[in-house]
Symmetry: C2
Subunit: 146 residues, 2 copies
Amino acid sequence: MQRELVTHPGAVGIVAHDGERIWLVRQPREAVGVPDLLEIPAGKLDEEGEEPLETAKRELAEEIGKRAESWEPLGSFFTSPGFTDERVHLFLATGLSDVDETPEVQENERIDVDIRPLSELDELIGASLDSKTLIGLLHLRARRAR
Amino acid sequence: MQRELVTHPGAVGIVAHDGERIWLVRQPREAVGVPDLLEIPAGKLDEEGEEPLETAKRELAEEIGKRAESWEPLGSFFTSPGFTDERVHLFLATGLSDVDETPEVQENERIDVDIRPLSELDELIGASLDSKTLIGLLHLRARRAR
């Protein structure tokens, strides 16, 4: 049985949409034994204690080549409080535009951008297998239903 | 940076309600440095490959002393696919009744039951800091809004 406590610097996840489409990514996830997983753009905080919003801006540019005019916090959560202190901070990013230059991406990151219509939100929620993505999309659907 | 892959047998989380109240639990979570965390009843699969529904029935009895007439799967998710294969299977449990005998609880589990009115669902979602609880409550709210 897993008893050790895994320390983690924390992470961010970004729900990025333009009212019609949502920007998702696919990347290999060897830990869970699937060829790739559909996720919201995300990434780890720098070891040096980066502010979550700064991480989110950096990751949005790195992963989908966008900046956002509006950033709204969607709360945070512990992924698995029984064995790790990993906390994920979620943001809603709108007012998207292309970054002038795509930042350098680490060599070991193989990420495919997957842009989906928001009309598919129910299906995307049903198919989501990743905690941050599921929580981000459930929050988005609740807001759009208001 | 955390690079190791943590193997995990998998877990369950149970959204247990009677239409008026929801059964939550509080327990110490030293991994995340909070005195206790409000969570849905939950637990790990036995090492021997227990079926998630069996785990859920066992944990509901152990943690809140209830059985349920109706069990409905709410899907499953990976808590943090970047570094662990932990997968949580969620269930909706209704038609609750007391178990005849409270099963023996492991000595190291100090769990307090916290029964909340469903009218507080928005506040509970806002205060949830645990992935399975947040996902379970967001699913429940979406169903009740239909």
